[in-house]
Symmetry: C2
Subunit: 462 residues, 2 copies
Amino acid sequence: MENKKIPYRHFLEEKDLPKQWYNLRADMKELPDPMLNPGTGEAMKEEDLYPIFCKELAHQEMDDKTRYVDIPEEIQEVYKQFRPSPLVRAYALEKALGTPAKIYYKFEGNNTSGSHKLNSAIPQAYYAKKEGLTSLTTETGAGQWGTALSEACEYFGLPLTVYMVKCSYEQKPFRRTIMKTFDANIIPSPSNTTEAGRKILAADPNCTGSLGTAISEAVEKAVTTEGCKYVLGSVLNQVLLHQSVIGLEAYKSMEILGEYPDIVIGCAGGGSNLGGLIAPFMGDKLTGKKPNTKFIAVEPASCPSLTRGKYAYDFCDTGKITPLAKMYTLGSGFIPSADHAGGLRYHGMSPILSKLYHDGYIDAVAVKQTKVFEAAKLFAQYETILPAPESSHAIRVAIDEALKCKETGEAKTILFGLSGTGFFDMVAYESYLNGTMKDYVPSDEELQKSFDTLPKVPGIQD
Amino acid sequence: MENKKIPYRHFLEEKDLPKQWYNLRADMKELPDPMLNPGTGEAMKEEDLYPIFCKELAHQEMDDKTRYVDIPEEIQEVYKQFRPSPLVRAYALEKALGTPAKIYYKFEGNNTSGSHKLNSAIPQAYYAKKEGLTSLTTETGAGQWGTALSEACEYFGLPLTVYMVKCSYEQKPFRRTIMKTFDANIIPSPSNTTEAGRKILAADPNCTGSLGTAISEAVEKAVTTEGCKYVLGSVLNQVLLHQSVIGLEAYKSMEILGEYPDIVIGCAGGGSNLGGLIAPFMGDKLTGKKPNTKFIAVEPASCPSLTRGKYAYDFCDTGKITPLAKMYTLGSGFIPSADHAGGLRYHGMSPILSKLYHDGYIDAVAVKQTKVFEAAKLFAQYETILPAPESSHAIRVAIDEALKCKETGEAKTILFGLSGTGFFDMVAYESYLNGTMKDYVPSDEELQKSFDTLPKVPGIQD
């Protein structure tokens, strides 16, 4: 093999790590529509979020002006324990594919949470502690976010209650154990510990839960508990802000290596990983510095919010107690089939990414899970990393794009986000390997039924 | 927190990665006693190993003269996909302990195998393929080695059969799945696929297996199959040679950082991780360059080969078909209690490490597993890594040494090997967290019964 200039894995030095997060909204020509109060239909103000979020995070949620937000020293210190993540040149995969394309991926799975989720868990726990809160609540689906936040809360000494989607709670006992290792209190959702949970169980006692139901419970628990707030691992503007460290590191590494991506690919559930990865590259596109970069959001065919959803105001939760957000949504009542493995099961999509997609800055592709696991297995074989099912959505499309390059002979530079490790997803791998994995795709009728639950907002959405 | 000169995590640049393995035997004043043919009592020659090992590996096994062994270019290329591993300064743990000690660890868990085992799996698969072999066999206990070798064999296109210790096979279905992802054939051992397995089952149909039984089966399968050889993930001289990359990288990183360890600590089962980590530092001690470095091997109290074993010739397997090795051993029939979680369950210890221990160059400590998991939990809380139970043996003693420094006020530099991730050990974590974990310690009578199985070697060991 020839001696290559570009290393297999690039790690930034500590001095080059981001000291500020990048707020993509500051460079958007048109901003996402504001969150609305579901009762009055009025735009939410920062203060209106104080009952749910701590003040600094409410501020970050609403602040669409500040381009760069300082990362507090204390957070930088914790980041340094697991960052930088490596930017990897996939030489072995390229060779296996026989593609002239250059494939890079940013791997976020090398910390206990096994994913990028720790990037936002750390600041959310930090600000809560700093503001004197005495406990937090959250929800988790596949368990990556719950693990990350359990870890962050233990680090800063904050008790945490996690509402875990019931089917994941039952299918992933090891995720429960790892959260227990960090002393978190784990409750399967829907549960009878909240009004929202009791209502959902009354309507369907066998409900296996969804992120939407778990969010309802976690929010209710937060607003009814003294000194307690709710935190969320995706969808929100503040989360995309924190996750910009992924993109900022990748950007800096590529700069040092003399590279720039032609295509940036990420899996998209609520949008935390994709939004973080693309941030600085999308900034270059929005400001005209690099107008031709292509961005691809990859979502599961079983939960296709961008490719088959409606761009509309919707609740962020199934219990309909959160503010309304304008986003691509399948309806807050949508619950993906139990055949769907792994995360990426949220009914909506980050309002920032939704707006960018709506305005044509991002492409979206929906892929079936057996094709996703086929890509995951190939990747594992050559790249010495067993990828998470979520991340493997991005691998699938990166491989497809690299194979297109093989046909056309173009040596495009592809960057994708490898958001996590698959160590906790062996049940899904087993079903793929033994041939029992199913490819579920919701019917138009099923989606229409779900769209019918979209809220009416007088004068805005009738 | 003050701004520190030494980074949290140090990664070598590709140019600084080892291009040669270091063969510690070349610097030992007294060499380990030779392997013996169990039938004749005669010292084994390189050719005598050809039926079991491929030629290059047989050569590496016997070669005690060549100080530095070139790492083939093809192996360096694969190493670069997951190496360097980070050398981490445990600032957060130091602070939590309130110790003046400086704690460093070398983390090997950031590849699919989840451990250091891939360092030797790659060369073993490479040499076998190069020599034209058409399949391999091996054994695995906790599954780290089996995963690593499955990965390496898939990479080089070699079919692999793994004999997996039966209790691990049953307790760790996810380890099976990950090996299946790499297309390995997994057989629970003892099995009826070999003469050795059938004998063991005839004597005890409920035998839950041990590394010794699995080795017997894998070796038999290899010697009775055309084009097939056996490979082993620990104990052997060749394995310690390959694993020297751990120590060589740590050494180079510390050199760049202007540091040198006063104490080097590693967990010890068969010795692959410990032997690899200490190699260059022990070289400095043996050659008088750094005579005062302290080395500590940490073993489970449930399988205490160094601290309670005999230094004697013994079989490497339970079926008594391998050559005899002079090592600290509990007797090849010793099977640790099922209460013992995780790896480090081999009855013997690397002949190189056994000799060094016997000659006073290494200290050894046996620790109980609840104390090990206590250390693991504390470590996870502060260092954003969930450690493997095996590696946590080293953490336990590193913490104990750091606490001694707190008492004495000495700012010693401690380096320990964090050989793997605990993602596949959640059953053990769960038993620790829910209080059902037991501390098993074999009785003197039990050990004596096992010692009675040591082989007689006329004129050498009567």
